[in-house]
């Protein structure tokens, strides 16, 4: 067992760092002020394969393995978590279900424009009365002669304001127990985007409600087969969790780095505060949590690449990474004192961005449920 990153993963990390430090970092604080990402930045990212991370080369992607994927998301999120969120959601729950469950024709039709960044992906499950409990979904798909007609409202959709290709989780109008995932494109009549949410963190990401009013789509826009909804949803979430874990890890890493350099520079009582044992304890705790997070995450990613079950391991990674992001950013603000509570310092943004990683893509409580179920169903 080798715990050192291989040369490829090291080079992937440097490649993303170089781009993120020179192109994203200078904009990150400004992006936090209003929803949306600068067009220039998105254009620069397109040819570099950021929108087709794990898409096979023949469909226009980079063909990365899952550890590389986790590294890319970590490094973007280390600079801008909101952009990291856009990229991970687009790639994991936006594109991955089509690659996994889509027919050859669906892959040919929908994936290349997404991999090129021309169409941003979104996945919508959450509704006013359904989130952790997928059984509460009220969006319905009515079968017609030509295909399906979708009606319903989805809320808190990441990338909602900029999405081009949307995966919609809906139930059959005749059998509420039967769910499917449908591919809806932005220009479909009856589809519209609601107001952008005013959120605590991730403020650059245009999270929005999406409305489907008699949205008619062809029959071949049903992903996979009718009735596969729950299976697709759960698989998408497993994959999505690797991305969100990586995102949380990136936030924690950024907060940690800021804390170390601040602790070395900040003087109190005529010495750098890094000389104080309390601060040292904080830094040590942060480092341990971050290291453990990364190991858990890379294990889950490696299992996924090997085609082995990784659901519980992804849940563990997501649970631990997001908890780490919250506690580490909390300590980072504490180390920065009053400055940490000011928008002048990036740790204030990291602190706000971190919390939601414990909520979306399955709350921490849901992750524990997934982990516990795995423990209790193991043969004894």
């Amino acid at each position: 067992m080798d715990f050192n990153p291989c040369m490829k993963h090291q080079l992937i990390r440097k490649t993303v760092q170089e781009f993120a430090e020179s192109e994203i970092r200078p904009l990150a604080a400004e992006m936090d002020k209003a929803p949306g990402f600068p067009d220039d930045l998105m254009e620069k990212m397109k040819p570099l394969h950021y929108f087709g991370l794990q898409v096979p080369v023949h469909l226009g992607g980079a063909g990365l393995d899952s550890i590389s994927y986790a590294i890319v998301i970590e490094e973007i999120s280390r600079v801008s978590a909101a952009l990291g969120l856009c990229i991970t959601v687009h790639n994991s729950v936006g594109i991955y279900p089509i690659l996994r469950f889509g027919t050859r024709e669906q892959q040919q039709q929908f994936v290349p424009p997404m991999a090129a960044g021309e169409r941003i992906g979104a996945f919508c499950l959450t509704e006013a009365n359904a989130g952790s409990d997928a059984g509460g979904v009220e969006t319905v798909a009515r079968k017609t002669d030509h295909g399906f007609v979708i009606n319903g409202t989805k809320i808190f959709v990441t990338n909602g304001g900029i999405c081009g290709t949307i995966l919609v989780f809906a139930v059959s109008d005749t059998d509420p127990g039967q769910s499917s995932v449908f591919i809806v494109e932005k220009h479909t009549p009856g589809f519209s985007v609601g107001e952008i949410e005013d959120l605590c963190g991730m403020r650059a990401n245009p999270v929005a409600s999406l409305f489907f009013e008699d949205c008619a789509i062809p029959a071949d826009h049903c992903l996979g087969t009718v009735g596969q909804g729950l299976k697709i949803g759960l698989t998408a979430l497993d994959t999505g969790r690797i991305g969100i874990a990586a995102q949380a890890l990136g936030i924690a890493q950024a907060a940690f780095e800021e804390s170390v350099s601040y602790a070395k520079a900040r003087q109190q009582f005529k010495q750098p505060i890094s000389r104080f044992q309390t601060i040292q304890n904080y830094l040590a705790d942060m480092a341990v949590q971050i290291d453990a997070s990364r190991l858990l995450l890379h294990r889950a990613a490696s299992l996924k690449d090997k085609g082995r079950p990784f659901s519980a391991q992804a849940a563990m990674a997501k649970l631990h990474c997001s908890t780490t992001a919250r506690t580490v950013t909390d300590l980072a603000v504490q180390i920065h004192g009053g400055y940490g509570y000011s928008k002048e310092y990036d740790v204030e943004r990291y602190f706000r961005d971190a919390k939601v990683t414990e909520i979306y893509e399955g709350t921490s409580e849901i992750q524990r449920m997934v982990i516990a179920r795995d423990i209790l169903t193991r043969p004894t």
């Binding site: 020179s22 200078p26 070395k264 520079a265 900040r266 003087q267 750098p272």
Partner: protein, 332 residues
Amino acid sequence: MSAEKQIWVWADYRNYFQSRVTLQILARATELARKNDAVVCAVVFGDRVDEYVTEYIAHGAQKVYVTDDPFLKTYNVESYAFLLSALVRRFQPETLLVGATRFGQEIAPRVARQLNTGLTADCIDLDMDDKDRLVQIAPSFGGNLVAKIITPKARPQMATIRPGTFQELPHDDDATGEVISVALPDNMPAPRVRCLKSELQPVHARKIETADIVITGGRGMGSKGKFKKLFDLAELLNAEVGATRPVVYANWVSHDSLVGQAGKHIRPKVLFSFGISGAIQHTAALADARFIVAVNKNPNATMMKLADVALVADANQVCTGIIRAVKERIRD
């Protein structure tokens, strides 16, 4: 080996009025030569170069080797390197010094290779040890440190010298020197590189190297946008703006503004240093700054230790504060 020890200075007279490096090296060579009774010689190549020969004698050259030929009219690195190597083989100087201009940095390595000798690049000082060996003092290990280098066996001892390192001697009209004309060798190879065009570019009137006030900025300024504030301050103070390497590489300013080992050497009366930690390759170029004001959040930064006045604060905020203060205090 010839009876007398000679220190050679290859004369780079192109753009004579801007580039004084040859005169600067002659001055240092004169000091070194006193230690072991060596003879300071200039080596001049070109077409009708009499006036330069006179100049070099007036600035310290005791002997001048001259090859004056229309073939040498334009600077050509291959021909010049061939000729210089041939002269060295014939007259066997102990030491050969070349100014670290771009042309100097092209010709010197080729001559060193042809003569199988060593070459220390971009020296910031030269000395002579008690065994009459040339001590070549140059930034090393990525500019973080300074190394003392010698050439124990191979001769000549070669070094390129950073322009601006030494002070030239005053022009002495009464100085005399021996001029030795050397004919172009018969076996000069035909040049393989053709120069189609060579135009002297107009030089900016004011240069950072000679400015009385210089404002330098590092990554601590925060961003490209915030860095621009330094230019506002420069305008007010009648100053020039310089930058560190990370800033230049991040494209906040052009390479022209680089202050440091690979960039400009400055000697201002007052230096304002904003958000610079002080890597040695940067600070090596500041040795002649008379009064240094440094601003950094980190009081332990090297730059802060070099300062006469160190302000522990955010560089960007202090810059804004100084702009305001100057506007308030200036009397027209």
